[in-house]
Symmetry: C3
Subunit: 305 residues, 3 copies
């Protein structure tokens, strides 16, 4: 039995298969409409995450399966002191596959060790959120036609941004990848990513402070939020905040085929005037999130259509 804890759990070849399956689902959803008839997904969310939970639920329902679960810890047995390893053994009696979100790093891993059903890590603290990364990869793969030979700009909070770190780790497995890291000094990529991931693997990258200085070089711009409270002082924040807000004017500097991604929710880091730009694909990304989760459920359940 197989679980998904990290986006790197799949080899590049396996990932290819998964993404191809997702693309086939996109092309012919009816073919898969009954693939999971009689199967049940448990969504065990120890912290709320509507978007991720609903994406999983939509995926399972699209496959003809059904869904049960909980959407926050206070409605779960965790409040009574039950361990995650006990809970998953019970959930194994109720469902065929489980998507687990947990505020503590490693909780889904512990669950997977005691589970009789496949467990998907749907986000564990600041650690991993592999289905977001799969979503990002499928979006790029589908709309760019490739995952290699790309210049990817990562913009915003690169220090704490879990999705950014995962995406870097996932993309360096493909040839010809280069990064432009766009962030304030305070929020630069942590040194272990720079040293152990980028340098060790001889991945070319540059670091810039202002979004304007990167726009013209990018195939992909991956936006994330810059939270005010991350800055050292108010003055820095006021001086720099506009550097990281994507607007129409900055989009004029970008190549015509550059894509803008965002894990969502956005607050104000992308101006709504960008939404109608054909290069803005962050809402399409949400749709790809459903397809890739459908492919993932099928793969982990070993169901072939």
């Amino acid at each position: 039995m197989r679980h998904l804890m990290s986006p790197l759990d799949f080899s590049v070849e396996e990932l290819d298969e998964l993404l191809n399956l997702a693309n086939d689902i996109e092309k012919d959803p009816k073919k898969y409409a009954h693939a999971c008839d009689g199967k049940k997904l448990a969504t065990c969310f120890y912290e709320p995450s509507t978007r991720t939970r609903l994406s999983f639920e939509a995926a399972m329902l699209n496959l003809g399966g059904s869904v049960l679960g909980f959407s926050s810890a206070d409605s779960s047995s965790a409040a009574k002191g039950e361990s995650v390893s006990d809970t998953i053994r019970i959930i194994s009696c109720y469902a065929d596959i489980c998507a687990m979100r947990h505020p503590k790093e490693g909780a889904p891993l512990v669950a997977s060790l005691h589970s009789n059903i496949p467990v998907i890590n749907a986000g564990d603290g600041g650690h991993q959120h592999p289905t977001q990364t799969l979503t990002d990869l499928l979006t790029i793969h589908s709309l760019k036609g490739r995952l290699d030979n790309l210049t990817i700009g990562l913009c915003g909070d690169l220090k704490f941004g879990r999705t950014v770190h995962s995406l870097i780790n996932a993309l360096i497995r493909y040839p010809g990848i280069r990064f432009v890291l766009i962030s304030p000094e305070e929020l630069k990529v942590p040194s272990y990513i720079r040293e152990e991931v980028l340098n060790r693997n001889h991945i070319p990258y540059e670091e810039v402070i202002r979004l304007e200085d990167a726009m013209d070089k990018l195939d992909i711009l991956y936006m994330t939020r810059v939270q005010k409270e991350r800055f050292f002082n108010e003055e820095d924040y006021v001086r720099m905040k506009d550097f990281y807000i994507l607007d129409k004017k900055k989009m004029e500097l970008a190549p015509k085929d550059m894509l803008v991604l965002h894990p969502l929710p956005r607050v104000n880091e992308i101006s709504v005037e960008v939404d109608n730009d054909p290069r803005a694909v962050y809402f399409k990304q949400a749709q790809y999130g459903v397809y890739v989760r459908m492919a993932l459920i099928l793969t982990l359940l070993g169901i072939q259509v």
Copy 2:
């Protein structure tokens, strides 16, 4: 694509069709049991409303569809600062139709402007609650056989009662409608309803203080709750509260074919001794609420059976 924001979004003719469809569903539910196979309803409830949410869910399940969503704002991305217009674009990727409840007036309308799927206003603050009005109309239409030539008593809090205002607006489109407005001075229908709705459209109405004084004239008695905190002073409340509690004794004053409706939940404004009176149809009303929502879902999705 069509949304439902206000009960007046449908013309009288369209409403006729909707109510006829609901009656056909009532007569032969099996015929519709698979009409929405493979379709998904998203229930996006930014404030809790169990009754309304479950009515929508029952409706979709009765049609063979499935349901996903959230039941309060704290389990949604709203907590992270996402706008309603972003949320609906995501929900559009997850579902085929959305029922949205929101504490802010106009939020469902904003959603509908950015949505790729039909949006149903399931209540927005003190503003509109169109499916309650459709429920009321279906109940009257089904049990009285007509929506015209009726004398309707509206009792209770007519000042703040959203359902009452909607019902007035919906019924004045039919000929021969007259109202008896039963409320304490403090809770009379707002003047804009009196002036711009009733007087402008030459709708006959009278205003009375005591329920007893209205009973014998009514075809329909629509009860609502009178909340203690709405009164100017405790003395008024004590003096008048019994005027607005419907009991067996007051029912004796009513015509034999008068119907009692209530949007529910009731607290004590209808004595439980009235429940077994055949004229008390407020629980049947809940059943009609499911039928009319089934008809609405089919209509907005453009599904013909």
Copy 3:
């Protein structure tokens, strides 16, 4: 129409039928996969209980039915002051059967008196939790092959433990039952159970303080939690707490075919080192909980497969 309020609502013969049906479901689940097509279960949980709620939902989904409901009181109309008897009349319009959990004793009974659909008591305060008892009985029946001629050890908080009291009441209807009651002085079985249930029915039992002193006599060991706050003083708690923790060493004293049950969740009253002992069946018990609820739903809905 029939409801389930107490485990004693079923005669011994009816219970036999129910357990046989559950065993048939276990043997051939596919046979029942569409037994409830088009039926809806409402889970009305006025207090959270994830395990029980999900067990009911899994049961209904396994039968091909669907589920709607609420998982805590604050998302229900109860917050608006609606009575349980009104709520169930509404729920009767939305679903075909209802599982109700309520913090107040007797609330599901009140609901059943006003309901048009079967109501299952899914736990009412410290009073009854009949589907837990049915689960316990099915587990014993399935794994021991009988419900008569058994020596059952009940360990832990026997004073407040609702499941323990229910199980005693259910088992004394079978011949050859004897109990070993294992608890600290403070948490002994209440005297009305001793007098009116055990003595009156001439059921042999003994009371011991330490788990070790009971192990070698038991066919079944039913563990429950001992909460620190139940003890009179800290000193007693420290002195005695280990008496009620089941570990590998104590298991060595037990017969080879003794079964360990636990209603779950457990905190630390069973050491995890016991989990892999083939006699530890508390996780299997959770699976039986689904089967018995499937059988119950079919029985109350009068569906024969």
